[in-house]
Subunit: 92 residues, 5 copies
């Protein structure tokens, strides 16, 4: 799972029926090197808000998170992070 | 889902039968660092045009978007973005 | 789908039985930044030759392209590109 | 499988029911270039602790590691590394 | 499939039962830019040795290579490369 921050919303009128009713949020990786931090869109499943740190799954797992294998969704927010405790930095 | 802009088309005469009749568009990530922004080909499912910002899914989800699990497609455009609202940049 | 150029061949005598009889070609991404352009091996399904630009799928979709879900293949060439028309570069 | 070091924990109260009871650990790749080493969250299945080097699987394989295909999990720790023996560096 | 060189071994006593008896080898991409060449662990299925160039599959395809869909494995060596013939470098 990726550690991301919710940074905004996206709206699309013309879209696949399977996307109707989903809250689509723009998320950005926060634990990545600034140059490689990815920004993408994830469907919210836990009531996340802008500014919150969240856990994001992708690929076929995102469809599991949405509870339906036929949805055209490949990213989903599955948890809101309360505490992130990095006890040590990895050795090189 | 990736946030991309449609930047062109691709034509292939010699191809797998499963690609017949699909509109194949060249898309490029717009919310990525310029050096790492990927350019690739996605099958359109929502009537997207060049210059539009779109939502793109990949992997097995793209086949769900096309509605047939046996298609040789791993990228699909599933929505046309009306508004992209970034309310804050992620903290480092 | 990735836009690649076929740049060579690879031969392997000792291999999984599922790879027998497949034409394995070395492909390289052509629309990527030179430093991040990936080079990898894909099974040909459309009669591609060295120097041609091709469409490549990966992951579970490659097995769909080969028509058998139990093959040990995760990359396949599914089309030979005739024309690649980039009408505009994406805005940053 | 990726070679990672466990560097911390993450807690989330608001989360998908499928994440209840799982130990979520922050892991970082140790055999990657420092700039591209990814940091992410994986569910522990082998009793790993902070500071240990571990084997991590992702995607649909992580759900296999957890033993249930409907879990919203895409990364899992599947082994604790005792010895890592690099006998030669790859030729360029 | 990725083109890798086998550079070592990894041993793990505490691991998922599905990993028992598998030969886990450390592989490194050889056709990638040095900075982005990934190093990871793959299960050997063809009797590969250190120093050999091999073909590696990942994701759900690795489980196909191992012949069992429930294994916690996402990378597998599926062939030993005899000859790698790059006939031309891709145009930019």
């Amino acid at each position: 799972m990726l550690i991301c921050e919710v940074i905004g919303h996206v709206w699309a009128t013309k879209k696949q029926p399977g996307l109707e009713g989903l809250k689509l949020m723009i998320v950005k990786e926060t634990r990545a090197n600034e140059k490689s931090a990815k920004t993408f869109v994830a469907a919210d499943t836990v009531g996340a808000g802008v500014g919150e740190q969240v856990l994001v799954v992708d690929g076929s797992t995102a469809r599991r998170a949405l509870g339906a294998d036929d949805l055209p969704i490949d990213c989903a927010i599955v948890g809101i992070i309360d505490t992130l405790e990095v006890q040590r930095e990895a050795k090189k």
